[in-house]
Amino acid sequence: MIRPLLLLGAALAAPAVIAAPAGPLQVTSKVLVESKQRAADGTTRVALVPAKRAVPGDRVVFVLAYRNTGTQPLSNIVFDNPVPRGVAYRAPLPGSSAPELSVDGRAYGALDQLTVAANGIRRAAAADDVTHVRWRLARPLAPGAQGEFAFQAALK
């Protein structure tokens, strides 16, 4: 009776990486935190480290890595990433292509094209209002090809 309980406990404590269903397109989600690291010469640089320590106010980076493991090219690929509760979208990670944003999961566009209703008045959307980010691949993904998207968010 004790053994299953222990196993359950271990499963909860371990970082949950749920295997995606097998298919030609493998998509891996990763989360990193920005960590200020002081170098020996006194300069500070921001490094991305696995999210072991994250407290409200920290910058976190969500990464989607994709790879076509099949033999056919894949077309019309759309990555739809709801922004998890407790984090606020900030910006695409430098080097990643900018995602399309949405404040409701239906209409997508650049931030300055979006509006939200607040107390009956529509106002321009802010980064805090973003609920979904979406990337679309314009060209088919050839077999074996891979890539990565990432966005920065703040832990609320």
Binding site: L12, V17, A19, V31, A51, V55, S75, G86
Partner: protein
């Protein structure tokens, strides 16, 4: 349980006014993601293979929000508490606000300061005795002895504040002027109502595999400015206050008057002739308005050629001058055994020294007490 919840709501209400300045600089703790919350990120993906639509989901990346321990402790009074020598349960008031993204206990440690911090005009030159720290359990902002007895803060919600009192006794020490005190507050584990949590220890930054557990990260600052002893990011805070003995002496004066009550001849206007009864009146006044004089004793030697009238000492509120010495005065016995005395004032007559001794007790600030006794003229 119900009472506690109601109190938490009250506390949260008062916190808004108290921490407005700090809250503007940073996000209110109640809006911070609670420690222990797991954040999962999964993307859903659609694509087509040879014109057939397919869909898949990414793996889920998760992490657990860690505990960002932050709080403030500040003095909640302007200047030192004014006290008098011998005061019991003198109070300095502090306020503790939880800015952590979780419910926290806080341990309280009242300290005497022996170095002067320049907070007040004078230097620290005395210590209070029996220094204790209590939580304002009923939330009325005032120390209630016997009611506010909790010595640690239990289950303080994010953004909630609570008042903490340091309570001590002022010694009867001549020349005492300033005593500095401080309240050290230590963040402790919350989560169990009615149980004092142990002090939090920051999780080692170099530990591996902490993704799924709640790490403890200290984010507390020096909450009351540039003073000593409040190191940032250590899970502890300290604020300072103090006591000030404003008055070391009171302006006590005694006026003595005599009145012939009867001359034994039944005269309407009795004269001081042998056999006449004379009432002496001692009126002690405290001209200092905001300090009372305690343990006031009057000694008066019965004049020569007079005889003390046994059992004639009376103590009470002064009457109108020249008409009555004492209004509703007590009747005191002449022996020095005060065991049977219950009214708080005692008196005796020393037959050898021919001396009347009246212990009139406390003369309040701006108040007066009178004592009378009678003699007959020999």
């Amino acid at each position: 349980m119900f009472v506690r919840r109601a109190m938490a709501v009250l506390l949260a209400g008062t916190a808004l006014a108290g921490v407005a300045g700090a809250a503007q600089a940073q996000t209110a703790a109640a809006q911070l993601t609670t420690a222990g919350t797991r954040i999962d990120n999964t993307a859903s993906v659609t694509y087509s293979v040879n014109g057939t639509n397919q869909s898949t989901t990414s793996t889920t990346a998760s992490f657990v929000v860690d505990k960002k321990v932050n709080f403030t402790v500040v003095t909640a009074q302007t200047g030192p508490t004014q006290v008098n020598l011998g005061d019991q349960n003198a109070v300095t008031t502090f306020r503790v606000t939880n800015l952590t993204n979780d419910v926290q206990d806080f341990l309280l440690d009242p300290d005497q300061q022996n170095i002067s911090l320049g907070l007040f005009p004078g230097s620290d030159n005395f210590d209070l005795t029996s220094l204790r720290a209590y939580v304002d359990s009923n939330g009325n902002g005032r120390y209630d002895a016997g009611v506010d007895t909790q010595t640690w803060i239990d289950e303080l919600a994010p953004d909630a504040s609570v008042t903490v009192f340091i309570v001590g006794n002022v010694p009867n020490q001549a020349g005492a002027q300033y005593a500095y005190d401080s309240l050290r507050v230590v963040a402790a584990a919350g989560g169990q109502s009615g149980t004092q949590g142990s002090a939090l220890i920051a999780t080692d930054l170099n530990l591996n595999g902490a993704d799924g557990t709640v790490d403890i990260v200290f984010a507390d600052d020096d909450s009351d400015g540039a003073l000593l002893g409040d190191i940032a990011r250590n899970g502890q805070g300290r604020a300072y206050s103090g006591y000030f003995v404003a008055i070391n002496n009171v302006a006590l004066s005694v006026a003595k008057s005599a009145r012939v009550l009867a001359d034994g001849l039944g005269s309407a206007n009795p004269k001081a002739i042998p056999g006449a009864t004379v009432e002496y009146c001692l009126r002690v006044s405290n001209a200092t308005l905001n300090a009372s004089a305690n343990g006031v004793t009057l000694n008066d030697v019965v004049p020569a050629h007079t005889t003390y009238v046994p059992g004639s000492i009376s103590i009470g509120t002064p009457g109108a001058l020249g008409i009555a010495c004492v209004v509703n005065g007590s009747t005191e016995d002449d022996d020095s055994d005060d065991a049977t005395e219950t009214d708080g004032v005692t008196a005796s007559f020393d037959g050898v020294a021919k001396k009347v001794i009246a212990n009139v007790g406390t003369v309040s600030g701006g108040g007066a007490v009178a004592a009378s006794f009678k003699v007959t003229i020999d």
